[in-house]
């Protein structure tokens, strides 16, 4: 069976480690990190058109680290990640966006934000009507728009 994973095993390891640096797990908020297996699986399954820039970012990361990210001590790992963030351009911006968009649609994370883990359709949302009396001072104003003469 062919391996249809868009990233090499080393790139997957680095992506997981970097994602965990971007968004670590939090006991305080009871949420996983972005290195969580389910979130990682979502990233790999949906990379699609972002594959090339993500690979590019991971190549940059490998050059900066000189070794697998998980093999570095925590301080060095953090320093490499921050350097990549500062110098990685469009590629790291895309990778970061991929991490964020998969993280913030994870059921556990969405629930932790007080939101329902579902698409907007078909349930929708309830929007409160608001206080229309706020418009009273505006209603009292004279017309603001300029009248203009008719066609020449």
């Amino acid at each position: 069976m062919a391996d249809d994973n868009p990233l090499t095993p080393a790139q997957r390891d680095d992506l997981r480690a970097l994602a965990g640096i971007i968004i670590p797990a939090s006991a305080e908020f009871d949420v996983p990190g972005a290195d969580d297996p389910a979130i990682q699986a979502d990233m790999l399954a949906t990379l699609g058109r972002d594959t090339d820039p993500v690979r590019e970012a991971l190549d940059q990361l490998a050059r900066l680290a000189g070794a697998p990210l998980t093999g570095l001590d925590p301080a060095r790992r953090q320093a490499v990640a921050m350097e990549l963030r500062a110098t990685g351009g469009r590629a790291i911006a895309t990778l970061t966006r991929v991490v964020l968009q998969c993280y913030y649609r994870d059921d556990r994370v969405v629930r932790s934000l007080g939101l329902e883990p579902r698409p907007p359709y078909p349930k929708g949302h309830v929007l409160e009507d608001g206080d229309w009396s706020l418009l009273n001072p505006v209603r009292a104003r004279p017309p603001l728009w300029r009248r203009a003469s008719s066609s020449p």
Partner: protein, 532 residues
């Protein structure tokens, strides 16, 4: 061999649909060619858990990023504002925010009133019956009585203020500045077969509920029942002409990629302010060496976008976020000219309710508000669901160096030259944007917002494509006459945003469609001598 038709419309978007519907009552044989296809609302982003992520991919506002088979590439490298469009039945109305203001009466008299640009050859009053007809066909929600605009009576009640609208309204009242619930094409009650809005919130990249008006669900069903033929996945390459300088039809590529010729007695262009000049310039011939209908040299010139100056911040209170249609209010406080501001003309403030969690995370990370590491979670919870924002939609004045040409190298999948955009923001508009940013910050301060962010101009904010085949009475200074017919080719009409003489400071779809209905009405009144 295709049978000749009486009227051939190119483009099934905002204007093409309106003109098709209006002309249908003539019982002429009307055919519309559209390069895109019918959309399937069951596949719209808001139906899936990846609804926000798709905004960065197959539902990106940029055709260059989106790159659907129906899209064509656009070289907009030489522009600080990138073109936004959508190619399908419904066109840009599939992919718009449904904000539906009209141009103001003063927008048609900019030379007379303010000494800049040129007056339109028609006026606001001429368009009023067509604005009203279009409001009914598209289904507009809004609130009568706004002192900021001429009287109008939207057929549906406005969208609720919600939390965001109330917060912004209170801030505007503190400043004593005008605000009003926006006119939108979002149905607030069941309307003409459309279900009412249930606040999916993700309105711009297509509405799965069908509450947002797009012409595939408003004009087109009625036009087709009246006999108009709509042929999809047909991309027009050029308009052909005869020895008398009359249009004879078009060459297009059908859904299988095969080259076809379609003969027509009348050709109507409805391809937007980029697609229309592209097609005219690509229709050059021995008789029309500089492009069709271009004896003035104005085809492709005077491109206007409406630069957007976006400002937002964060409040302690919870906002509506993504859980409601994104636009809620407008302000006309700075719309009409006041020369003490340092510029002429003006802008509309368009207020937003907030964004969803993914967009918030991506934007805040890019702005440096959302850190990597341990502080991430607390920071995100302070930002998410607390955003209030607004944009100044600034009037762009026509400048000939802002233009659409044919790219010498880039081509679409059919080998048709892609449009190239050369555009800079004018000095008057730049001053207007700075004014808008400063006053938006005052509004957000009045709402007690902090962490203020500015995007000026919005990079992927070229929603409004205007001015590149403008109307006028002088054939040396305009492309079409005051009722929509080409000065040069007497059976060629243009009905899209390219005919705008000036841009105003509002979202243009309402005015584009009113103009299309007006031009269709003029055609119907002149059928006996349409080519004289």
């Amino acid at each position: 061999m295709n049978d000749p038709v009486d009227v051939l419309i190119i483009g099934a978007g905002a204007s093409g649909a309106a003109v098709a519907w209006s002309l249908a009552e003539t019982k002429m044989h009307i055919l519309c060619l559209e390069q895109g296809g019918w959309m399937n609302p069951a596949t719209y982003p808001s139906t899936g858990r990846d609804w926000e992520a798709r905004f960065f991919g197959d539902y990106s506002p940029s055709p260059n990023i989106r790159a659907r088979p129906e899209d064509y590439p656009i070289n907009d490298d030489n522009s600080p504002i990138k073109v936004v469009n959508f190619n399908a039945v419904g066109g840009g109305t599939i992919f718009y925010t449904a904000h539906f203001p009209r141009l103001h009466p003063s927008d048609f008299r900019v030379r007379s009133l303010d000494g800049v640009a040129e007056d339109w050859p028609i006026d606001y009053d001429t368009l009023v019956p067509f604005f009203e007809e279009n409001d009914r066909m598209m289904g507009v929600s809004g609130l009568a009585g706004d002192p900021g605009v001429p009287p109008r009576n939207p057929p549906m009640l406005p969208l609720p203020l919600g939390r965001s609208g109330a917060l912004l309204g209170k801030a505007m009242n503190r400043l004593g500045w005008h605000w009003w619930p926006s006119d939108t094409t979002v149905a607030t009650v069941d309307y003409e077969g459309r279900a009412k809005c249930i606040n999916l919130g993700h309105c711009t990249p297509a509405c799965a509920q069908g509450a947002k008006a797009s012409t595939d669900i408003t004009y087109w069903p009625v036009a087709q029942r009246a006999g108009v033929e709509l042929r999809t996945h047909c991309r027009v390459r050029e308009i052909t002409t005869d020895e008398h300088g009359m249009a004879t039809g078009v060459v297009y590529y059908d859904a299988d990629g095969a080259e076809q010729f379609q003969a027509a007695h009348v050709v109507v262009l409805a391809c937007n302010g980029v697609g229309t000049p592209r097609l005219l310039l690509n229709s050059s011939s021995g008789r029309f060496p500089n492009g069709l209908a271009n004896s003035s040299g104005f085809v492709g010139k005077n491109l206007m976008f409406h630069p957007y100056a976006q400002v937002y911040g964060y409040v302690d209170a919870e906002t509506d976020s993504n859980r409601a249609p994104p636009t809620c209010l407008w302000s006309k406080e700075f719309y009409e000219t006041d020369k003490s501001r340092g510029f002429v003309r003006g802008y509309t403030f368009q207020f937003g309710r907030g964004v969803g969690p993914v967009v918030e995370a991506v934007a805040s990370e890019q702005k440096g508000l959302l850190p990597w590491g341990a502080g991430h979670h607390a920071a995100f919870r302070r930002l998410n669901g607390h955003r209030l924002g607004l944009s100044a939609i600034c009037e762009d004045l026509p400048e000939e160096h802002n233009r659409v040409t044919l790219d010498p190298e880039l081509k679409d999948c059919h080998g048709i030259p892609a449009p190239r955009i050369d555009y800079t923001i004018g000095e008057n508009t730049a001053r207007m944007m700075e004014h808008g940013i400063a006053h938006a910050k005052e509004i957000l301060a009045a709402a007690n917002a902090t962490d203020i962010c500015v995007n000026s101009p919005i990079l992927h904010g070229g929603w409004h494509l205007l001015g590149t085949a403008r109307m006028g009475t002088d054939p040396a200074r305009s492309v079409i006459n005051e009722w929509g017919r080409s000065h040069d080719v007497k059976n060629l009409f243009i009905v899209d945003g390219s005919v705008f003489v000036t841009s105003g400071g509002v979202n243009p779809t309402s005015t584009i469609q009113a103009l299309a209905l007006y031009i269709a009405d003029q055609m119907k009144q002149r059928l006996a001598n349409l080519f004289d």
